[in-house]
Amino acid sequence: MTNAGAPEGDVYSRICRLIEPFNKKNVPLTPQTTFASDMDFDSLTVMDLVASIEDEFDIVLPLNMLPDLESIDQVARAVQKIRKDV
């Protein structure tokens, strides 16, 4: 996933917009911000966010990808890759 190239700014910023309503602690968002440690998301919040990402980009983020996605940047790259592959 890391060698899939830099994510388009558009994908990254759209994901950040989707994260905002869940970002209760107002953690400043950077590409390296992590969901679990930095933002304290529990698994239910994560799945809620996954649902909004899927709706926004009209994709499916498969379960087997989740364990490798720690940061916003990694999610953005994954979304971009899925959109290309479709």
């Binding site: 440690s37 529990d42 698994s43 649902a51 364990p67």
Partner: protein, 611 residues
């Protein structure tokens, strides 16, 4: 989802029917094999729905039996022997169900293992699978295509007869062997649903225990009727999902509609939509499942719901939070949901699943108990501290007590907590509430809950020592939970064991503490992982760490490091509190006492350092 295990899907446009002419037998079978053989005489079965709520695989119990026998013959042909363990990644799929039952026809023990549940945590997940396989000395591992990479990594170097996907197993060309037939006292499967992930022990369940529990649930717990239909999103790697919504329906010939857990977590309203569409009558969920539905339903979704067929809304799997349950009932009242459908229940994997069910049609019954009694600060010598309220309506209490938004009740300075009745023990059980010395307590006295009955496990697989610590020679199981009896009903107030449950997932303090100990400079005994009540009584995993650092800057860095370490190793977000050296309490034998640490921290005797 594979269609390999499915009857000819081209002809299938509808899920398996709710009704059947086959006379219902409620779990009165010697083994799970006999139960499926009987269910296969009818037209009912299991159905799998996609994330978008479309019907995917449909499998009648007859088709399941055919497929399972085919898998069983193959397993025998491959050289698996009776009692061997096969690790199965428990995805909500027809393939898992077929394989689980296939093992039964070969007298092999399936061991359901979990799926990932969140962003990140790859290493922790793979390690967990590997430790569980090692603990049961699995001889094979089978999982869905999508999980292949993780499975291979987890199984690397282990001596296995087979490691691959369901499709690869199907494609194997091997001579078929003769099917076996297990006896009632043989083990049926191992369950890892509630144990420590770092130090796992598989709960060993016999066919006899399983059938006893299935019978208790069907006949006495939910009292099945002709038009019952079960709807479920619970994972098969959890006892409530595996036993409650798969094996019990098989043993009682009930059709079930499954939604994958991860699809429920993304779009919880699919659960209620499926209830509406298929006229579901029975479904179970921990409190948080009701919570997210009530929080996420929109006006549009509400209009299309009709929950009037819902007869049994089982609640279990974690501490029941009455405010959340009431909010759900209020939210879905106009969709036809009746709060009398709630059936609080109590169970644990060490008892196969169920111990008690609330009386049907009564809904939630609640006691108000003085917080000081619950915390052990004042003795529980009389009935004075137990005030009774029925269904949240205060009955026997003074009028100047009122419920506050944070769900406790106060009268002058006294605070009360709502305790939910988890129902009447199933007929198979004897139940004791005992004090610290092991003496049986009368009703209305809080103590530790012990049970004895047919569906209690035989023990933890391959671990006589841990088994002996919870199961006595004469069959009494120490549940580790605290509670009391009143008028024959069981009221569970919490755990004596130190387990932490967040969103229905069990976390063991020793796993969290182990993770922190791996940080250089940390010593075992410096760390206590405990559960503290949050704003609305949800559990908040908290780690107390003895800290010798002097500046707030250093402390802040340490806290960050600990947080990340726990997240990546144990897969849970914890609140970290630093405490001065030598403040964590010990037992007389010098071991860390988590329960005392918890008490002292809550009471303010242990003070947190600033950072």
């Amino acid at each position: 989802m594979s269609s390999a295990a499915v009857i000819d899907t081209l002809d299938v446009v509808a899920p398996t029917p709710t009704q059947d002419n086959l006379p219902r037998r409620m779990g009165d079978f010697p083994t799970l094999v006999d139960a499926l053989d009987y269910a296969a005489l009818g037209v009912r079965g299991v159905n799998f729905y996609t994330a978008r709520g479309e019907l995917g695989d449909v499998m009648t119990y007859a088709a399941l039996r055919d497929k399972a026998r085919q898998i069983g013959r193959k397993l025998k042909g491959m050289g698996f022997e009776a009692g061997d363990r096969i690790a199965l990644i428990a995805a909500t799929e027809a393939d898992f169900v077929s394989f689980f039952m296939g093992c039964q026809y070969a007298c092999v023990l399936p061991v359901p293992l979990p799926l990932p549940t969140s962003f990140g945590g790859r290493d922790g997940y793979v390690t967990q699978l590997r430790l569980q396989m090692q603990s049961c000395r699995a001889r094979a591992m089978v999982g869905p295509d999508s999980m292949e990479e993780f499975n291979q990594q987890a199984a690397e170097g282990l001596d296995l007869l087979f490691c691959g996907t369901f499709q690869e197993f199907d494609a194997l060309k091997v001579a078929e062997g003769e099917l076996g037939h297990p006896s009632s006292d043989d083990l049926a499967y191992l369950q890892y649903s509630s144990g420590s992930t770092r130090f796992p022990h598989g709960i060993a369940i016999t066919h006899k225990a399983l059938m006893a529990n299935c019978q208790g649930q069907g006949r006495d717990g939910v009292q099945l009727v002709d038009d019952d239909r079960c709807i479920s999103w619970l994972p098969f790697y959890h006892d409530m999902g595996l036993v409650g919504t798969l094996l019990t329906p098989i043993a009682n010939q009930v059709s079930v509609d499954f939604l994958a857990t991860e699809d429920f977590a993304r779009r919880p309203m699919q659960w209620l939509t499926l209830m509406t569409r298929n006229r579901g009558t029975i479904t179970y969920s921990p409190t948080f499942g009701y919570d997210i539905c009530a929080r996420r339903v929109g006006a549009e979704a509400m209009k299309s719901l009709d929950l009037s067929s819902w007869r049994v809304a089982g609640i279990g799997g974690d501490m029941i939070r009455p405010d959340v349950i009431r909010h759900f009932a209020e939210t879905f009242k106009d969709a036809g949901f009746s709060s009398t459908a709630f059936v609080p229940s109590y169970g644990l994997a060490e008892c196969t699943l169920a111990v008690s069910f609330a009386v049907l049609g009564r809904g939630m019954e609640i006691d108000l108990v003085d917080e000081r009694v619950l915390s052990g600060d004042i003795p529980q010598n009389t009935d004075d501290h137990l005030h009774v309220a029925a269904n949240g309506v205060l009955a026997d209490v003074d009028s100047d007590i009122h419920l506050k938004s944070d769900e406790s009740v106060s009268e002058d300075d006294i605070r009360y907590r709502e305790v939910v009745c988890c129902g009447i023990p199933l007929p198979e059980y004897e139940l004791h509430v005992r004090d610290e010395d092991g003496s049986k307590l009368p009703e209305r006295q809080i103590g530790r809950i012990f049970v004895r009955g047919d569906s209690v496990m035989t023990g933890y697989f391959d671990d006589a020592e841990t088994t002996a610590s919870v199961l006595s020679a004469d069959g009494w199981l120490d549940t580790g939970d605290m509670g009391y009896m009143r008028d024959g009903g069981l009221y569970v107030i919490g755990r004596a064991k130190d387990m932490i449950i967040v969103n229905g997932r069990n976390h063991w303090p020793q796993d969290i503490e182990w993770a922190v100990e791996q940080i250089p400079g940390m010593r075992s005994g410096d760390i206590a992982a405990i559960s503290l009540p949050g704003k609305s009584r949800e559990e908040v995993a908290t780690v107390l760490v003895q800290c010798r650092l002097r500046t707030e800057d250093e402390r802040r860095q340490l806290v960050e490091q600990i947080k990340r370490q726990i997240q990546s190793v144990a897969g849970i977000n914890c609140r970290i509190e630093l405490v001065p050296p030598r403040t964590l309490p010990r037992t007389s034998s010098g071991k860390l006492s988590r329960s005392k640490a918890r008490q002292q921290f809550m009471a303010g005797t242990i003070e947190a350092l600033d950072f």
